[in-house]
């Protein structure tokens, strides 16, 4: 493997590992806030014990999230040095703001959450818990603003004097519609994960007949919060699809395995067998109109197919070569104003010319065959996207059904009596993680060959370090992370089995009021 593949694999592994811990942190932090609010408002000590018990599991997971997050902040520099140079002027800002505005708050208040129960009043502690939860979610907002810009690089232009993208409009970066849609979709997925976690472990206790009071209350909270989140994750996932339809038409076409343009209103392929080599999809089962509605919110706009998008890419490569030629002229003579004007006019396509770097270094001499080959590289891995997307969406609907049932049973106070429901809840435990990881595969693998959509090909973003170094770090991360994950899972199952009493070191409080409202 060369340095590009090694660096991509390392980024993929470390990012997917990191996202094993992030969604649970996002979801549980809000659930802890809800439970503690009930405690402070009702004065029932059992709710405080619930916060402490789920908080212990939250803490074990949080430590892993922080640990694996460190790598994410610095890996752009170590492994993606040219990327960091090329877009750091834009991409660095939300990362720094995440540290300044969100992670500082989160990391400072997490200490209060765990250690200040006796040092703060109940109201103060509640505020600390909510500050932790809000900061956690705010943190996700900044990261997704950064990621959204990779998908839809607005508010920036190419500066030939510094050979990089520079920010022109900060508010466009901040209010990037793709980032907004991704943010709500991602945090909702985190809420689903947190809710499934609480639901499944509570179901385990009820199946064993243990910790009934705590489990039943936890389940009720998880059922209502989970239902709202599961609905929102699907609705806002649809919004993400619409946003991707704005500028990432190839991603949509690949998810649909739609080789040729669908006339309006486009139909949606439910299942089929995408054939990458033959550029066709066999045994496709189609539902009319649905794709047109998702991708264009209309019934009169066609959705372009992969083959047509490749043709468009070829045109943009030719336009990009005009920009590249002008860039070389400016480099020769920085005062060549005509060349600067040409570069500006074609700079939106400069990234497409850079796709040719995969085939030759002197891209200004590219042949029509090179251009056709480079245009074909804009097709992502269709079968992987097709199936990842379908499994993710299927899981999304399953979560709605599960939480809908839980909500209904909780309303009739019959959560404990339906063992098949409890088993279904328990067995659902790993599924939100599967859905979340598949979601990232659709989003990021579906962005290939771009690291910044239409601007910078992934292969050009890497550092020019030794491939051996990256192989070393890749193996190191894989072994190190797996060991830590084993320790993490061991501790989680240990504390889940021990249950709240052993975790707290005393019996769980009776579900009666122990003190009046007020501080």
């Amino acid at each position: 493997m060369d340095i590009v593949e090694l660096s991509r694999l390392q980024f993929a592994i470390t990012a997917l590992y990191h996202f094993l811990f992030v969604p649970l942190t996002l979801g549980l932090s809000i659930l802890l806030g809800i439970m503690e609010t009930v405690y402070v408002m009702s004065g029932r000590a059992i709710w405080r014990d619930m916060v402490k018990f789920w908080g212990t599991l939250f803490g074990i997971n949080f430590a892993m999230g922080v640990a694996t997050g460190l790598t994410m902040e610095f890996q752009f520099g170590t492994n993606w040095a040219y990327y960091s140079h090329y877009v750091g002027d834009v991409f660095g800002a939300p990362l720094a703001l995440e540290g300044l505005m969100a992670f500082f708050l989160e990391a400072t208040f997490v200490g209060l959450f765990f250690f200040a129960w006796d040092r703060l009043s109940r109201i103060q502690h509640l505020i600390a818990t909510w500050a932790l939860a809000i900061a956690t979610n705010f943190s996700a907002l900044w990261i997704l603003i950064a990621n959204g810009w990779m998908q839809y690089p607005v508010g920036a232009h190419f500066n030939v004097d510094t050979m990089r993208m520079e920010m022109t409009d900060f508010s466009a970066v901040l209010f990037n519609p793709v980032a907004q849609a991704k943010f709500v979709h991602t945090v909702s997925a985190g809420y689903v994960t947190g809710s499934v976690f609480v639901l499944a472990i509570s179901a385990y206790y009820l199946l064993r007949g243990r910790h009934r009071e705590l489990a039943r209350r936890s389940m009720t909270v998880a059922a209502s919060f989970g239902l709202a989140s599961a609905l929102s994750v699907v609705v806002l996932g649809d919004e993400s699809g619409y946003m991707a339809g704005l500028n990432q038409k190839m991603k949509i076409a690949a998810i649909e395995a739609m080789w040729n343009t669908e006339p309006a209103p486009a139909s949606f392929t439910v299942v089929g067998l995408p054939n990458l080599a033959g550029r066709k999809t066999e045994f496709a089962v189609k539902v009319p109109w649905v794709l047109g509605l998702i991708a264009t919110r209309s019934i009169d706009t066609p959705v372009p197919g992969i083959n047509q998008l490749v043709d468009i890419a070829a045109t943009r490569i030719k336009s990009g070569l005009v920009a590249y030629d002008a860039l070389l002229k400016v480099r020769q003579n920085p005062k060549d104003m005509a060349a600067r004007a040409t570069l500006d006019a074609h700079s939106a396509d400069l990234g497409y010319a850079l796709l040719l770097k995969h085939f030759r270094s002197d891209i200004q001499n590219a042949t029509p065959a090179d251009i056709a080959n480079a245009a074909a590289t804009t097709i992502p891995n269709v079968p992987v996207l097709f199936w990842s997307f379908r499994i993710m969406v299927g899981l999304g609907f399953w979560f709605i059904a599960l939480f809908g049932t839980a909500f209904w049973l909780a309303g009739w106070r019959r959560l404990e009596t339906h063992r098949s429901f409890l088993w279904a809840s328990l067995l659902t435990l790993p599924l939100p993680w599967l859905a979340a990881e598949l979601g990232w595969i659709v989003a990021e693998y579906g962005r290939q060959p771009w690291v910044i959509e239409d601007v910078l090909p992934t292969a050009l973003g890497v550092s020019s370090t030794d491939a051996g170094n990256v192989l070393f770090s890749l193996i190191g991360f894989a072994l190190f992370y797996s060991t830590l994950l084993a320790a993490d899972l061991y501790l989680l199952q240990k504390y889940i089995r021990l249950g709240p009493e052993e975790t707290l070191g005393r019996p769980v409080s009776a579900p009666s009021v122990t003190h009046a409202i007020g501080v």
Binding site: F62, S84, T108, R164, N469, L484
Partner: protein, 375 residues
Amino acid sequence: MSYELLRLTWWALLGILLIGFAALDGFDLGAMILLPFVARSDIERRVVINTIGPVWEGNQVWFILGGGAIFAAWPMLYAASFSGFYLAMILLLGALILRPVGIKFRSKVDDPNWRRSWDWLLFVSGLVPSLIFGVAIGNLFEGVRFSFDADLRMHSTITLLSLLNPFALVVGLASLAMIALHGACWLNLKATGAVRARVYGIIPAAAIAFAVLFAIAGFWVAQLNGAHLSVPMAHDAPSNPLMKTVALIRGAWLMNFRGEPILWAAPVLAFAGALFAILLRSRPGYAFIGSALVPLGAIGTVGLSLFPFLLPSSSDPNASLTVWDASSSKLTLAIMLGAVAIFLPIVLAYTAWVYRVFKGPVKPENIVSESKSFY
């Protein structure tokens, strides 16, 4: 604000973030370095860990924000230094990853082997970063081997072994002593009983070790080839590091001090801080302020000595990164400065409040009686 002033301000902010990291997270690292030595029994070790337990996570954000701010304000520095020092950075990350899990996981299992293993891993998590940061700083003075091509893609021939040169190792050890001293002064303030008695004895040793190593590095630097701008460069030109001429001149790293003798205040402050830590160690709060002045003086010395250079190249001096040609665009610097001006004071305010909430020493009897509530 002019581009020149923005760049100068961001150079100062870079220093403030690094000093904030060393002064606040430094004592967390230092406490972990001392953990196996000043705390013998399990309960003593829990005392040490719980002195930093509620606050270390917030402190670590100085490091994360430092990384993010370098990315946003000095993208070329971020790209060149992190990829150039690749293996050193990976080791640093590995060590820092051990810390959150080590602190959280260690006391969650009642097995002596599990706990002892984590204690040593926590020691590594303190030792390795303290050394690597120092070694990296040392290499800035030695200069590192990198150049840029016309696309401004960096090419470097830095290896892990080339970073481990004698001068850099001296700076690494000075950094280690500085961090250990700060950790000792923290434990002197927050621990009790036998642990405190042991760190009390360590403070003079660590302070003297730092002072000696810092002085050696100072004399050594006068012998090194320092980067010097042959022709003054524009301070508001686009960030392109290929537009200047730089000469390597022996002793050039002291030119700023010769030009502005007031700058000697920075190294004097570092020595004074170490001296205060020794003399005032029976009054732990003051000694801690003393040991916090050490990174202020030491990192200040480094920055003032290198200015305007950020990352000098020894193989292609003209490609060195400076304050005037490695920054973000004017707009990005201005936006980020606005955010820092608003939010850093807020961060400092709630951080101060949290320290006040957790005021007072950590006592072993509390950990015994409420075992489940502590690390």
